[in-house]
């Protein structure tokens, strides 16, 4: 369970947001909404542990996230940068990604993940020859190759076509059914496939 208590963020003198409070139980999903520049990415980076939490608190299962081993092992953050190496293939990228996260991964599982996101036949091409949408798909495939229960996704469906958006929504739905937790921002209507009982939305205001 993720609890965010009275979180605020400042950039120099400027206040981005303050007083952000929400709770996210296992098996639920939170759609973070807000205008451009209101601080959605900053909030996600704070919750994922990339930026320090200066005021407020973020707890994972009742423990603060700083120096929290179980939190580090349980969350995936996927931001605007896809963390793919252009000279490696999608397959190699995902294998190194899992290994750097400290997990062993079966090559068949990686192939399966790439196939379910529509990259069958392109597993061994260098990532630099893939289109933007295909790169995004390859980056999202790590959600399936790594074992993590909390997914923090910053605009996961940017540059994706409709079938791929539906595939991502399906992946999120399956994750929620297994008791996972998802926190995401999106300007696209990604939420149709997800049962409305398990999704809430939170509007971030500056």
């Amino acid at each position: 369970m993720l609890s965010v208590i009275d979180l605020s963020c400042h950039r120099g003198e400027r206040r981005l947001f303050s007083g952000v409070c929400f709770q996210l139980k296992a098996g639920t999903c939170l759609h973070l909404e807000g205008d451009n520049g209101v601080g959605k990415t900053s909030l996600l980076r704070q919750i994922s542990g990339l930026s320090p939490v200066s005021a407020g608190q973020v707890d994972w299962c009742g423990q603060p996230i700083a120096d929290n081993e179980s939190f580090r092992a349980q969350r995936i953050y996927l931001g605007h940068n896809l963390a793919l190496k252009d000279d490696l293939s999608a397959m190699e990228n995902l294998q190194f990604d899992a290994a750097i996260a400290g997990q062993a991964v079966d090559p068949d599982k990686v192939l399966g993940a790439l196939k379910s996101l529509g990259l069958k036949g392109r597993e061994h091409l260098p990532v630099r020859v893939l289109s933007q949408g295909q790169k995004r798909r390859a980056a999202l495939a790590r959600l399936l190759t790594r074992q993590a229960s909390l997914w923090i996704l910053d605009e996961p469906v940017v540059a994706l076509d409709m079938p791929a958006q539906a595939a991502v929504a399906g992946v999120l739905k399956a994750h929620l059914e297994k008791g996972g937790t998802v926190l995401f921002t999106s300007h696209q209507p990604l939420t149709m496939a997800i049962p409305s009982a398990s999704i809430t939305s939170y509007r971030l205001q500056g």
């Binding site: 320090p52 580090r72 953050y77 896809l82 000279d87 490696l88 190194f96 750097i100 996260a101 400290g102």
Partner: protein
């Protein structure tokens, strides 16, 4: 251990696919070391005296050429974010990147140095000592340089700043590295110099990854 080896393997395989970065620093070393005898002329005594110093300065500059890219590529494509978020400790992953940097831009210089030393008419013993100092010294250069690379990450004009920051810190390695060969040829023995180099290497191996990790966390905030 798995994340550490994964980072080393990834960096090495990336470099082998895009060889120009590795080859640049190796050729730079070869060319610098080859220019000096041509410029100074075939005066054997002079060459023998300046040889170790020239080779060391060449190695130092060559290892610095590739420092700028050490963390910048990972920073640009978001891999660094994933490394910071990994459940493996960041200093160990940074240590792996430093090891990869040394394998790609330090070790080739050690291997090439005996061939280049022949141009300076160094004798067999002096060449052995030179190789030993470079074997201890080039990882030290990578470790010290990594701190500079991490501190200047994301800064505009980072390359110039990096050399201003790092070159003064290379001075002790240069003094004891080149000094070891001169002490050997003067008949004093090089063991004291080599011990000091080894001590500096051990200290840097402990503190540098930790310092880099702190600098990288600040760069990503």
């Amino acid at each position: 251990m798995r994340p550490f080896l994964a980072v080393v393997r990834r960096d090495v395989s990336l470099a082998l696919r895009r060889k120009n970065e590795v080859m640049t620093s190796v050729f730079f070393f070869v060319v610098v070391a080859a220019l000096f005898p041509l410029g100074i002329g075939p005066e054997m005594n002079t060459l023998r005296q300046i040889g170790p110093g020239v080779l060391w300065v060449g190695a130092l500059l060559a290892s610095m050429l590739s420092l700028g890219r050490m963390f910048a590529a990972d920073h640009d494509d978001g891999t660094l974010e994933q490394m910071v978020l990994s459940s493996a400790s960041l200093p160990s992953l940074v240590g792996a990147k430093i090891l990869a940097h040394w394998l790609l831009s330090g070790l080739p210089l050690v291997v090439l140095s005996p061939v280049l030393a022949l141009q300076f008419d160094l004798n067999g013993q002096a060449i052995e000592v030179l190789m030993a100092t470079l074997l201890l010294g080039t990882p030290l250069l990578s470790l010290i340089g990594a701190i500079g690379a991490a501190l200047t990450l994301g800064v505009r004009g980072a390359d110039v700043l990096l050399s201003l920051l790092v070159l003064p810190l290379y001075v002790p390695a240069l003094v004891f590295g080149a000094g070891a060969v001169q002490a050997q040829t003067a008949g004093l023995g090089a063991s004291a110099h080599l011990s000091i180099l080894a001590a500096m290497l051990l200290i840097a191996a402990v503190f540098s990854p930790w310092a880099c990790a702190s600098a990288l966390r600040i760069a990503l905030e």
